[in-house]
């Protein structure tokens, strides 16, 4: 049984199905990866699962711990333990990192917040009182986002491209944070274009045109990167376009 189950989910923008009778089941306590080409609908799926405004009007259902959450707003879903690390996180004028992390943290002690920052590779001495604003670099902002999610100790963490903008050295910090989440019992869903991130998962899904078109062990799904995709009759999309390779 999955902790989060998506049944026949269809979401349309301007009459066009972005998610198209999508079915997926995320197992409790596992680290999952979702891969797929640009525009496949990965971020849209994440937004729909956390219940962002604009993503509430869909067909099908989403069940969390066996119960439908379709009528719950983003804050109510968060209170039940579902959260999202944004692909491009928001910036907040004048809000110190300390306060931002405390807002989501279960353990609000300063020591804990400092430890979290260290975990993602940001020295608390330099970052604790900096604002979560536009002066943070893209990578720094992504690290703060991840720290905030670990702080929350959620049941389900959707991480949309947690490695985007992250340098080679820091990528291991991201992996560490994923391990911390796993050790807390969090179900992690990694949305990614990176093999290294995919390898952190125990189970993976391939998305294409608003559907899950394959799933299974990482070893298997990994081949979509390695073999430049298996033959795909999906919506007549050229294989090269799916995996971003040369024609």
């Amino acid at each position: 049984m999955g902790i989060l189950t998506v049944k026949d989910l269809t979401l349309k923008f301007n009459g066009k199905s972005i998610l198209n009778r999508l079915n997926v089941d995320f197992w409790d306590g596992h680290v999952h990866a979702v891969i797929g080409p640009n525009g496949a609908g990965k971020s849209t799926l994440a937004s729909t699962l956390v219940g962002l405004s604009g993503y509430r009007d869909f067909e099908g259902d989403i069940e969390f711990e066996g119960k439908s959450i379709r009528d719950l707003g983003v804050d109510e879903r968060a209170k039940r333990g579902i959260t999202l690390g944004w692909q491009e996180p928001a910036r907040f004028e004048g809000l110190p990192i300390l306060d931002f992390l405390r807002a989501s943290a279960k353990n609000k002690s300063r020591e804990h917040i400092e430890a979290l920052l260290n975990k993602v590779g940001l020295d608390p001495v330099n970052y604790l009182y900096r604002a979560v604003d536009k002066t943070l670099s893209g990578g720094e902002r992504k690290k703060v986002e991840l720290a905030s999610i670990v702080a929350m100790e959620p049941k389900v963490a959707l991480l949309d491209e947690p490695d985007s903008g992250i340098d080679i050295e820091s990528i291991y910090r991201i992996f560490d944070a994923v391990k911390v989440l796993k050790s807390l019992g969090t179900t992690v869903i990694l949305i990614t274009h990176s093999l290294a991130v995919l390898d952190q998962a125990e189970h993976a899904f391939l998305m294409c045109h608003g559907q899950v078109v394959d799933k299974g062990e990482v070893k298997k799904i990994r081949r979509y990167f390695e073999d430049k995709c298996i033959p795909c009759d999906h919506k007549n999309i050229p294989v090269q376009q799916i995996i971003g390779g040369q024609a």
């Binding site: 804050d75 809000l95 807002a103």
Partner: protein, 312 residues
């Protein structure tokens, strides 16, 4: 009856200032209603006080070349629920002198109180004057505050003022500041105010960049919630060559609040350059949903975003 030290400490209790200010050796002036209840000056800084029926008249002079390193603390307040406090302030900052003032205006119990401030400030050439006014109001909304200032900034002199009213209800605030700058002078005015219920916020800030290479920034950050209203009028004129200025007004609007921004830029010299931006809108949705996705309620998320915007 409270003793004077008791009065001072009960006024100070409403401020969240650094404990150094309580050090009697820090230059300070504490006025409750129309009575001076504490005063300590430092060499080169002269403060003359005349008590009026409904307030005080102050003459503050800083001698040429005097540099006061630690901020001077002013505390104007009234503990009673009703009354009028009028402060007339004449400030003369001598050539190349430097001072920074931190003023607390504390009206913790106000039900029907008026606080009027009329300041004339002259900053001589090369001097630096910074004034941070922080208001602490009651939650009852019965306050009317009228801060007025006319400021002259001399050659290469520097004037910075910041007005903060975030704690307690605004009531009515009606700010009117007008400054003029000589060659190389700098004016930097900032207001951060949060209104709720039926609070009314009016800001009129005018800066004249008359001198060559003078610079000016007028910044307003306002939040209006419930039925509060805000009207921000910022005007920057430039007649000096190479004068540079920017007007920035940001207003966050929630509930039934109403906000107006009137930025006026007027340039009289082809080599001067002034820009402006004004943004009025509700709390950004992505910010809101980010905090909500971390478990905050919508109200708490809005509070956090506004506090950030209005933070120093």
């Amino acid at each position: 009856m409270k003793t004077q030290p008791e009065l001072i400490s009960s006024l100070y209790d409403y401020t969240d200032t650094d404990p150094n200010l309580k050090d009697p050796e820090t230059a300070h002036l504490v006025i409750n209603g129309n009575t001076v209840i504490g005063m300590h000056a430092v060499t080169g800084l002269n403060i003359k006080v005349k008590e009026l029926d409904d307030g005080v008249e102050l003459l503050v002079t800083l001698d040429d070349g005097t540099i006061v390193k630690k901020p001077v603390h002013l505390c104007f307040g009234m503990l009673p629920e009703t009354g009028i406090q009028r402060i007339i302030m004449n400030v003369n900052i001598g050539t190349n002198a430097q001072i920074s003032l931190l003023a607390h205006c504390v009206f913790p119990n106000a039900v029907d109180v008026q606080h009027l401030m009329d300041a004339t400030i002259h900053i001589a050439d090369g001097a630096r004057y910074s004034y941070f006014e922080k208001h602490v109001h009651s939650s009852k909304g019965g306050l009317k505050v009228y801060p007025k200032a006319v400021v002259h900034v001399g050659k290469n002199a520097h004037f910075k003022t910041e007005f903060e009213l975030i704690k307690g209800r605004v009531g009515l605030i009606d700010i009117e500041y007008e400054t003029s700058c000589d060659d190389g002078g700098v004016v930097d005015m900032m207001a951060r105010i949060s209104g709720r219920a039926d609070d009314i916020i009016k800001i009129k800030e005018i800066g004249h960049l008359n001198g060559e290479r003078s610079k000016g920034a007028l910044t307003s950050k306002i939040a209006v919630r419930d039925n509060a209203r805000a009207e921000v009028y910022n005007k920057l004129t430039a007649s000096g060559a190479y004068a540079r200025g920017h007007v920035d007004c940001k207003e966050i609007l929630q509930d039934n609040g109403v906000a107006t921004a009137i930025p006026i830029v007027e340039v009289h010299h082809p080599k001067a350059h002034i820009t402006h931006e004004a943004a009025i809108g509700s709390v950004d949705n992505k910010q809101l949903e980010t905090l909500m996705s971390r478990g905050l309620s919508e109200d708490d998320a809005v509070e956090m975003i506004i506090n950030g915007l209005l933070a120093r």
